[in-house]
């Protein structure tokens, strides 16, 4: 048949057509990861030097290389204030962005963010309870707000997952809706706590700033705990990222190629929620990062979750370190909530990327 002959005459497998750039996708990916890593290191060093007291890059590098703090004021500021805060924002940015990537992939929903199944509502109520009812509580160096926010976040996810479970299965639509309902109820319970508070002053303001996101200066012990949690979570994300690619082709298909769909969903939800809760305990509820960083990465790299994962993590870290640096320097000595800045910087850049892509952005 003629059609058969026509189809046999095709370019050999080695001759790959329409490559975006002159070199292979893989090389481009490795280059992007490398450049992002270098950029993260530079951003970390520079922003550690910025603030009310400027510390030069050479001094920052010197102090870091010697490893030991001296008695000088600069050194104390660097080790006790700047570095913890800068590392904390990097961790929070990476965690929220990766959680956003996981949930957008799982729910196949472009509006999904790290708080989509209720983390933020639970965290808010937890923080409220911690602040109003248990002000003296502390655990592993975390204050009442942070600890209770973490607990509230995890407990809410467990509750939502249990509520959404129907006949041994947890349909993603039910999960989203249950998460939304529970989260809203808990958020308004928090406002109720605020209304009940007789001295409307300081505590309410602390809670409000906490709900728009402020990365406090953590103790090193706090950093260690959250870094461990987020680090483990990120490592565990790699096999999950591959599963997300398979799940994107449909649950039925995934089941057919041997994926334990329900178990995988649970693993994704647990991992995403734990790293979100860890991030919340450091920085409160920071909006926008977890929503747009995964989209930015997808616009540049395409939909393969395995490649998106490292890029999203590093880009999220860079993004939040930049935002937090601006948050504490623009109007110094007063601080702007970092959530506000993420929207101000992230929004335009995201819109620019969205309009610049040649192809319609498919989700």
């Amino acid at each position: 048949m003629e059609t058969e002959i026509a189809e046999k005459i095709e370019p050999p497998a080695s001759l790959r057509a329409d490559r975006r750039l002159g070199f292979s996708d893989r090389a481009l990916f490795i280059l992007i990861v490398f450049v992002l890593f270098v950029a993260l290191a530079v951003v970390l060093l520079l922003s550690a030097g910025m603030g009310a007291t400027r510390i030069g890059l050479r001094e920052v590098l010197g102090s870091l290389l010697h490893g030991h703090r001296s008695q000088s004021t600069d050194s104390v500021i660097l080790f006790d204030i700047r570095l913890p805060r800068v590392f904390a924002s990097a961790l929070v940015g990476a965690a929220l962005s990766v959680a956003g990537l996981l949930f957008q992939g799982l729910f196949r929903n472009p509006m999904a963010d790290p708080y989509v199944i209720g983390s933020s509502g639970g965290a808010a109520l937890g923080a409220g309870i911690g602040l109003f009812l248990l002000p003296r509580f502390s655990f592993l160096g975390f204050g009442a707000t942070a600890t209770m926010a973490f607990i509230g976040s995890v407990a809410t996810i467990a509750l939502v997952y249990w509520l959404a479970r129907i006949g041994g299965r947890v349909p993603v639509v039910t999960l989203l809706l249950a998460g939304f309902a529970v989260s809203t109820m808990l958020s308004y319970s928090t406002y109720f706590l605020v209304v009940l508070d007789d001295n409307f002053g300081l505590r309410t303001r602390v809670l409000a700033s906490w709900l728009t996101g402020v990365i406090a200066v953590p103790r090193w012990s706090q950093l260690e705990v959250t870094a461990l949690m987020i680090g483990c979570g990120l490592i565990f994300c790699f096999p999950l990222a591959r599963r997300l690619n398979t799940l994107a082709l449909g649950e039925d298909y995934a089941r057919q190629v041997g994926v334990q769909v329900e178990r995988t969903h649970l693993a994704i939800i647990l991992t995403g929620s734990l790293i979100t809760a860890a991030a919340v305990s450091l920085g409160g509820v920071i909006s926008f990062v977890g929503l747009i960083v995964p989209h930015m990465a997808r616009l540049v790299l395409g939909p393969d979750h395995v490649r998106l994962l490292p890029v999203t993590a590093i880009a999220g870290a860079i993004f939040l370190v930049l935002a937090d640096t601006l948050a504490r320097t623009v109007l110094a000595p007063s601080e702007i909530p970092v959530g506000l800045l993420t929207a101000f910087i992230g929004g335009p850049f995201f819109l620019y990327l969205l309009r610049r892509t040649r192809r319609e952005y498919a989700f």
């Binding site: 059609t3 591959r242 994107a248």
Partner: protein, 259 residues
């Protein structure tokens, strides 16, 4: 010889609704079978049971002599692949990225793609004749191209049995014939095939056997010429073919077509 796929008294119901009742049949290695039957008789359900996506309520489904329930999900997925009818892909996945997903049953949680997996993907792309489409975005392909990519996806699993659910659906005549050529070529390569087919006229010449499912009747299997007879089809599809002279003549044309 043990049949590659065997159903023994298999029943399945969705909640209260009984879809398959005591279905028994077997498919030998090397067969190219067409699964036919009226709408709603459970063709898709049967394929999903055979692929292990669903578990039967009663009876046993065995692959190569071993019960599906006894095989792990991963092991079953290395024996049988199902090319689904409906297949929607969010995101801009390329053809190659999609076909790579077929290697899932062979990959450990943390292990990456090995040379062996790469080879299987290349072979699947080649067999389904989509090598030249590898860097195209799946959602931008035509219906016929998508169908062939789906077959490549199934082949990447390196299954001994390939199940196809309505592979010619929504294709124009030329694309249907091309697809039948692909199925024929796969069969020649030694892949055992069971395909749910709606268009009975496409069966003779490509398929070596026909499995007919009828409501409330035992499944029947035979050579195409033995099953695709007006009297049998009339009863199975509940339509008086003789009163539609056009249909009868068309059926006769297909029956006379030589392989």
């Amino acid at each position: 010889m043990t049949p590659l796929l065997q159903f023994v008294d298999v029943s399945f119901s969705y909640q209260q609704h009984l879809v398959l009742n005591d279905v028994s049949f077997s498919i030998e290695a090397g067969e190219c079978g067409a699964l036919i039957g009226p709408n709603g008789v459970g063709k898709t359900t049967l394929l999903r049971l055979a692929a292990g996506v669903l578990a039967c309520s009663r009876g046993t489904v065995s692959l190569a002599g071993r019960g599906l329930h006894a095989l792990g999900r991963g092991e079953a997925a290395r024996l049988v692949a199902l090319v689904p009818q409906r297949f929607e892909v969010p995101f801009d996945f390329t053809v190659e990225q999609i076909v790579e997903q077929g290697r899932t049953p062979y990959l450990g949680l943390f292990a990456g793609f090995k040379h062996r997996d790469r080879q299987a993907v290349e072979r699947a792309l080649g067999l389904a004749d989509v090598t030249s489409l590898r860097n195209r975005i799946f959602n931008e392909l035509s219906g016929g191209e998508r169908q062939r990519v789906k077959i490549a996806l199934g082949l990447a699993q390196e299954p001994r049995l390939l199940l196809l659910d309505e592979p010619t659906q929504n294709l124009d005549l030329g694309r249907q014939l091309e697809l039948l050529d692909s199925i024929h070529a796969l069969h020649k390569e030694g892949v055992t095939i069971l395909a749910a087919m709606h268009d009975l006229q496409l069966i003779p010449g490509t398929f070596s056997s026909v499995l007919l499912l009828e409501p409330d009747q035992e499944a029947r299997k035979g050579r195409p010429a033995d099953i695709l007879r007006p009297d049998i089809l009339e009863r199975a599809f509940d339509c008086p073919l003789r009163r539609h002279p056009k249909l009868v003549s068309e059926n006769q044309v297909t029956l006379e077509k030589t392989p």
